[in-house]
């Protein structure tokens, strides 16, 4: 298996933990992993990304344009920003909830999530849009968007990993009192699709 995955969003949305879980799950299965992510000043509300590369014979932790098999967008505008990295025929999971930069409220340069989602729909055949508000309400926490999106990638079969692999990674890396909530968030997409 060789897979290039990009997670992108806005600082504070939990991309780093999600990236760590994918990597840990892959490594537990003996798959070589390289990854890289935004750390430092940009984490304070800036655009952030994680690149994850799974498989043999990889030198660089960074993904080039047109090389990503999967992009998980935590924010529609950020997903559009990184669209050039998606391989032709690649998959995309995207949250439908825009995070407005402070500058947008100040200068009145708001953008609409729906414009971004329309843009993606027109270009990405394998696109899954996750209704973030509804999902977070149903799971009962505003802090688990990352696990909800990972769950959506799982149920789309785009991660190359199984739910059990990620659950194992959650058990190893997250305090026990949060396990149930995280499992619930991870399972949300599966339930949602069944309805």
């Amino acid at each position: 298996m060789r897979k290039n995955i990009i997670l992108c969003g806005v600082g504070g949305q939990g991309t780093v933990l999600a990236s760590r879980l994918i990597s840990a799950a892959a490594m537990a299965k003996g798959i070589p992993v390289l990854s890289a992510e935004t750390i430092g000043m940009a984490q304070r509300g800036g655009s952030v990304f994680s690149h994850i590369r799974l498989g043999e014979g990889i030198y660089s932790p960074m993904i080039a344009r047109g090389e990503a098999d999967l992009i998980i967008g935590f924010e529609p505008g950020e997903a559009v920003r990184l669209l050039p990295f998606l391989k032709p025929g690649g998959s995309m999971i995207v949250s439908d909830r825009a995070v407005m930069p402070v500058t947008a409220s100040l200068t009145g340069t708001d953008y609409r999530a729906s414009d971004m989602l329309d843009f993606l729909s027109a270009r990405v055949p394998d696109l899954r849009i996750v209704p973030a508000e509804q999902a977070m309400q149903s799971v009962g926490s505003t802090k688990v968007l990352n696990l909800i999106l990972l769950g959506a990638a799982l149920s789309a079969g785009a991660l190359g990993l199984a739910e059990a692999d990620l659950k194992e990674a959650i058990r190893a890396r997250i305090p026990e009192k949060f396990h149930e909530l995280n499992f619930k968030a991870l399972a949300w997409a599966k339930q949602y699709q069944r309805k």
Partner: protein, 606 residues
């Protein structure tokens, strides 16, 4: 031996522990910080670890440990090396007994730094050998080699990762703790002819250092880290070659796979440069592309060797416009440069026909007390002729609109000096210097002493959030916690200032807006040096209070809350202000300035 999924910096820390390091010290700075934090988490009981007050002190402590024959690691970012350069330059002349590795993380981009300086250059300037890893695994292996090297040649040795190596993750093969070396040391031995730096000693040692480094160039030519990947396939007979090192080398190797395999030189020790290996690489080539970040170090070395040995090879790189002069190399930029160099087509990627996208400059967190501090000073000094000298930390972000409260920012502690320089020439301007608590201890004290002694007039504002926030919440002398896990007496900023002779020292909670504004008004016009300490803990370390709610019935839609403080939790929808419950921490600053009294809840400060 086992595999662990590690950040490059974690791998470096484990490598140092595997080498039997006895003492680790440093000062936090992106992208170096996690090295020392990991040592603190994973160390055996006999390993001493500390966050030192600044890089200069850390370098001296590590030097002392190495004088005693111990293995020492000192960590910093590239800006920190400037602070530590005085002891380091001298240490190279004195030499060490135990291994001393100086970990300096460079920041191409720059992503979180003021400069794009290149520690490989600093290595040749200071004559200190440098190892330049390109991956987490290499960094793990190299730091162990660096300790051996340091002891064998009695010199400090640099390990110089860059951001993508320090912060990249990989499954790294590491030793089990039972396999770690144990390094025993026999302690400091008095010998003033060795340890006291005098001109005569420096003269003698200078010659020895130059001779040693010439010898090391030969030794390093045989080091497997400096190696030639042969040309293969369609390019087997090509007379072109690529030279690279560090993170850029990983991009070059990826480009080799997809674009063509020409002869490739990997440089793992940019100083002393592996001359023989490089000449072997150059022989028979017509053209070489040098792919590196920051300074054209490999490029200049190769040009020098072509001149020295009369080799007819054209060297391309930054100086010829083939590689960007500044910023990071990326997979795409390297692919483009290599494709152009080899005259092969680049695979098509989707064009950048993207719609306009939101700009997301980093901002102070929702609930950050710095926002309240800046706002209070801004309110108090409205209409006055002022200068607000900023400094290095999260609070540099106070420059963003709408706060716009940072007029200058240079380097650690510089705001105090700049405020004084302006004050001596512009007496009608009210000068402020803002400094964070960690920066205060690291580099503001001489500035305060200088101001009091030389009768400068300015207001020192200490933004005390009781942590080193920007780099991820490290303790410092004001926090009362050490990296050895001890709880010690906190060093009081108020007492320091009073001890120096600052008579007006006011401490106030910035989240109480009225009180904070009043404190600034009262203090700013007093003569001489005066200090306001805004004390409120970093919001990332405290539990949120009850969040604010904005009553849409009462909100008049004036946007004052949005226009004045720029809190990321506040936005405007349907003609009313809205607070995002996922971001709001209930600091209550917005509630205190709402003219309609529409914002309720949050922390009560009255």
């Amino acid at each position: 031996m086992h595999a662990e999924f590690l950040m490059g910096n974690e791998a470096i820390a484990l490598g140092a522990l595997a080498a039997g390091v006895n003492l680790v010290c440093g000062y936090p700075g992106t992208p170096s910080t996690e090295v020392l934090e990991t040592v603190a988490k994973r160390r055996g009981e006999s390993v001493y670890v500390e966050w030192s007050v600044n890089e200069k002190t850390a370098m001296e402590i590590a030097g002392g440990a190495a004088y005693a024959g111990a293995r020492a690691l000192v960590t910093m970012k590239q800006m920190g090396l400037n602070v530590a350069s005085d002891p380091l330059m001298c240490l190279e002349y004195i030499g060490v007994k135990g291994g001393l590795v100086v970990l300096v993380a460079d920041d191409p981009g720059p992503i979180s730094s003021q400069t794009e300086q290149d520690t490989r250059r600093f290595a040749s300037f200071s004559k200190v050998p440098v190892f330049d890893p390109s991956s987490a695994q290499e960094a793990y292996d190299m730091i162990r080699e660096a300790f051996r090297f340091s002891e064998e040649y009695r010199t400090p040795v640099f390990l110089r990762p860059t951001t993508r190596v320090s912060h990249g993750y990989a499954a790294v093969q590491v030793l089990d703790p039972e396999e770690y070396e144990t390094h025993t040391y026999d302690g400091f031995e008095k010998d003033s002819s060795r340890w006291v730096i005098f001109p005569r000693l420096s003269f003698a040692n200078h010659r020895k250092i130059e001779e040693r480094n010439a010898h090391l160039s030969d030794v390093l030519s045989d080091n497997p880290g400096n190696r030639i990947e042969p040309a293969e396939g369609a390019f087997a007979e090509s007379r072109k070659g690529i030279a690279s090192g560090g993170f850029s080398y990983t991009c070059v190797m990826e480009a080799r796979e997809t674009l063509g395999k020409v002869r490739t030189l990997k440089v793992s020790t940019p100083f002393p440069f592996p001359e023989k290996k490089a000449v072997e690489f150059l022989s028979g080539l017509d053209e070489v592309l040098c792919v590196e970040e920051l300074d054209p170090v490999i490029e200049r070395e190769l040009i020098y060797l072509c001149g020295k040995y009369g080799l007819p090879v054209r060297i391309l790189g930054k100086q010829t416009g083939h590689i960007a002069l500044s910023g990071e190399n990326t997979r795409d930029s390297v692919n483009a440069a290599v494709a152009a160099f080899l005259s092969v087509p680049l695979p098509e990627t989707s064009a950048g026909d993207l719609p306009p996208l939101p700009v997301r400059p980093p901002v102070l967190c929702a609930g950050c007390p710095h926002r309240a501090s800046f706002y209070a000073v801004k309110q108090a000094m409205k209409g006055r002729k002022t200068i607000f000298c900023g400094d290095i930390g999260c609070y540099t972000l106070g420059n963003a609109m709408p706060l716009d409260m940072v007029d200058t920012c240079l380097c650690m502690g510089a705001g105090l000096g700049i405020a004084q320089g302006i004050n001596h020439l512009e007496k009608d301007r009210s000068c402020f210097a803002f400094v964070g608590d960690s920066t205060f201890f690291a580099s503001a004290l001489p500035g305060v002493v200088n101001a009091v002694y030389n009768q400068a007039e300015f207001t020192l504002v200490v933004l005390d959030n009781s942590t080193t926030a920007m780099t991820g919440h490290q303790p410092h002398p004001g926090t009362g916690r050490t990296m050895m896990g001890n709880v010690v007496d906190k060093i009081s900023i108020e007492n320091i200032l009073r001890g120096i002779g600052v008579t007006e020292v006011v401490t106030v909670n910035p989240l109480n807006l009225a009180e904070a504004v009043e404190a600034v008004r009262k203090t700013a016009d007093l003569p001489g040096v005066k200090a306001i300490i805004f004390r409120s803990p970093c919001i990332a370390l405290t539990k949120p209070h009850s969040r604010v709610t904005i009553d849409p019935e009462k909100c008049v839609g004036c946007k004052k809350c949005i226009r004045e403080i720029g809190c990321p939790a506040l936005s405007f929808a349907g003609g009313k202000a809205v607070a995002d419950p996922a971001q709001c921490t209930g600091c209550g600053l917005c509630a205190q300035l709402c003219p309609a009294g529409a914002i309720e809840g949050g922390e009560q400060h009255a």
